[in-house]
């Protein structure tokens, strides 16, 4: 039975990874899961300099999910290189670093600092809804997405995954734009912009007023978008959005995802990633699936 998948020339032992921002750099979950089991760890977004993030409250629970507006708090690329990458190198897994910025030069600065680092793939965050400049601005306009993708491809030493926003009119157009601009893979979906108001205090639940919705509540939207994106491009698609268990992960694979990521559900079940891997293997065994490739895009018309 083969669970290996290849994304932009990088072979993962299985398609299961962590969604950026929900797993730190793995340190916080090391007590719960064997990181060696994971196909890849996708780190929290990292920027050229340390970012303090937004005011609190930064999260609010919603029906079947949550809103977050962390605002990409991160320690900056220098400390990240000194501390987080060496930590992850201790494990037999692939390292995907999520890159954040306000401007193209800021993204490029991070990408360049990572060029000589033992990192397998870069994931470019052009879809964070919670920062004032940059982030989602690059992911909602095809021309801006085209420009940043080309610029990053010019500087990146590792293959580039563009992480797309669901807050767009046509995900197929954005996926195609990223591919045409040279992206090696795309990942989706980032969170969906939402809002919650506390009727007792009559205040916004989040200090930032809006936040990104994630969790099982968004899964059908994510599956639909992964399907549409996978139909539109020939580069690999990494699917995520509300994955809680192996059944959910398999659904994304069938929709056309080559890789899948567990995000918010790590908070509900810290063992979720490894349970997805075990469940996938069990499904393959029970259904006579020899190679996970048989599942990818395997939905019947």
């Amino acid at each position: 039975m083969n669970t290996k998948v290849t994304i932009a020339g990088v072979e993962l032992k299985n398609p299961v990874m962590t969604a950026s921002g929900t797993f730190g750099s793995g340190m916080e979950y090391e007590e719960f899961v064997d990181i060696n089991r994971l196909g890849a760890v996708v780190t929290k977004g990292v920027s050229a300099v340390p970012w303090p993030g937004n005011e609190t409250p930064r999260v609010a629970e919603t029906y079947g999910g949550m809103l977050n507006a962390i605002g990409l708090q991160n320690p900056g690329i220098d400390l990240f290189i000194e501390r987080d990458i060496p930590f992850l190198r201790e494990f037999d897994t692939k390292i995907i670093v999520n890159v954040a910025g306000h401007t193209i030069p800021e993204y490029v600065a991070v990408v360049e600092k990572l060029s000589d680092q033992p990192v397998d793939l870069l994931e470019i965050n052009v879809s964070c809804p919670n920062v004032k400049e940059g982030g989602i601005a690059f992911g909602q306009d095809p021309r801006a997405l085209d420009e940043i993708t080309r610029e990053i491809k010019r500087h990146a030493k590792q293959p580039v995954i563009m992480k797309l926003s669901p807050n767009v009119t046509s995900i197929a157009l954005m996926a195609r734009t990223a591919e045409m601009a040279g992206a090696d893979a795309i990942s989706l979906i980032n969170t969906i912009t939402g809002m919650q108001i506390d009727i007792r205090s009559r205040k916004f639940a989040l200090a930032n007023k809006t936040g990104g919705l994630s969790g099982p509540a968004i899964k059908p939207i994510a599956v639909r978008m992964v399907y549409q994106a996978a139909q539109a491009v020939s580069i690999p698609v990494i699917g995520m959005g509300g994955i809680a268990n192996a059944d959910d992960a398999i659904e994304f694979l069938l929709a056309g995802a080559t890789g899948v990521a567990v995000g918010m559900m790590n908070f509900h079940n810290p063992y979720a990633t490894t349970e997805v891997i075990e469940g996938l293997e069990e499904y393959m065994e029970q259904n006579g699936v020899e190679d996970v490739a048989e599942l990818i895009g395997g939905v019947k018309e």
Partner: protein, 280 residues
């Protein structure tokens, strides 16, 4: 450090201590690992509410593996917990957070300041440090205080847990409506104690506090004036509870070693912080 895990707790008993204040005892192995000031995350069962609810540990019986949680009914999650009957099971994650540095209180005059639902977590601390208490720790963090004074602030006459604190500490009560003890806040009561004990320079050598943020702010100022080290247990909206999501941050005076900015994680670097290190 004790390894954190997601496990289960079986309800031993549940009673109502005051309006919307529940006293839940759970049989769980987490009870043997938990330290004063730490908390657990308790999960609602429904798929609609997925995040663990952070609840401070009120007390733990290490031998019987019984964890005591005193919590306030506030919404979807706690309403579900309040309906749990003996024998029923709750999923939980823990032990979470750092806890009070009880080892620093050995041989000292300890002042506990609690407000509202911030009162229960101080009980575990008091019971382990109390010179009258018979409890000892496992894990080497032992040592009794020379005396414990507790100042507890409530809204009204429903002074839950006050009798228990009275058994093991020198207790001063304050109620906002003046229906019991000093009329006013904890700090009003504290200044009254100061007046009464005229002659002695300070009331305490070390302060542990837990309560609403205006109270903690006042405690921080009080400690500064008195020149006494204070440790504050903070509260913030959380998601993961294990330090990954960066939701529950507080502002710090210095650049935090982990975050590399002026933010610390309440769930992991706290919930207890030295008063001088946090900006309230």
């Amino acid at each position: 450090m004790v390894r954190r895990k997601k496990t289960i707790g079986r309800v031993v008993s549940q009673t109502m201590l005051a309006e919307d204040i529940l006293d839940l005892r759970l049989e769980t192995f987490l009870a043997s690992d938990v330290m004063p000031g730490q908390f657990v995350g308790v999960y609602p069962a429904g798929a609609d509410a997925l995040l663990p609810r952070p609840i401070s540990v009120c007390d733990a019986d290490r031998e019987a593996h019984v964890l005591r949680l005193v919590y306030r009914l506030t919404g979807r999650g706690t309403t579900e917990f309040a309906l749990k009957q003996p024998g029923e099971v709750l999923e939980m994650i823990g032990p979470l957070g750092n806890g009070f540095p009880v080892e620093e209180a050995a041989g000292k005059r300890v002042l506990l300041i609690g407000g509202g639902i911030g009162i229960p977590p101080l009980y575990f601390t008091a019971s382990l440090l109390s010179p009258e208490g018979t409890r000892e720790y496992t894990g080497g963090r032992s040592g009794k205080a020379s005396s414990i004074t507790s100042v507890l602030g409530y809204k009204n006459i429903q002074t839950f847990m006050a009798p228990q604190f009275a058994e093991i500490t020198d207790l001063y009560l304050a109620t906002e409506d003046g229906s019991a003890g000093y009329g006013g806040t904890d700090l009003d009561a504290l200044f009254e104690i100061g007046r009464r004990r005229e002659g002695s320079e300070t009331v305490a050598d070390i302060i542990f506090a837990c309560g609403p943020s205006p109270m903690l702010k006042a405690v921080k100022e009080y400690a500064l004036i008195q020149g006494v080290p204070a440790y504050l247990s903070l509260e913030e909206r959380m998601a993961c509870g294990v330090g990954a999501c960066l939701a529950c941050v507080c502002k710090t005076r210095n650049v935090d070693a982990h975050s590399n900015v002026h933010n610390a994680r309440v769930c992991t670097d706290g919930p207890v912080f030295p008063a001088r290190e946090v900006v309230l």
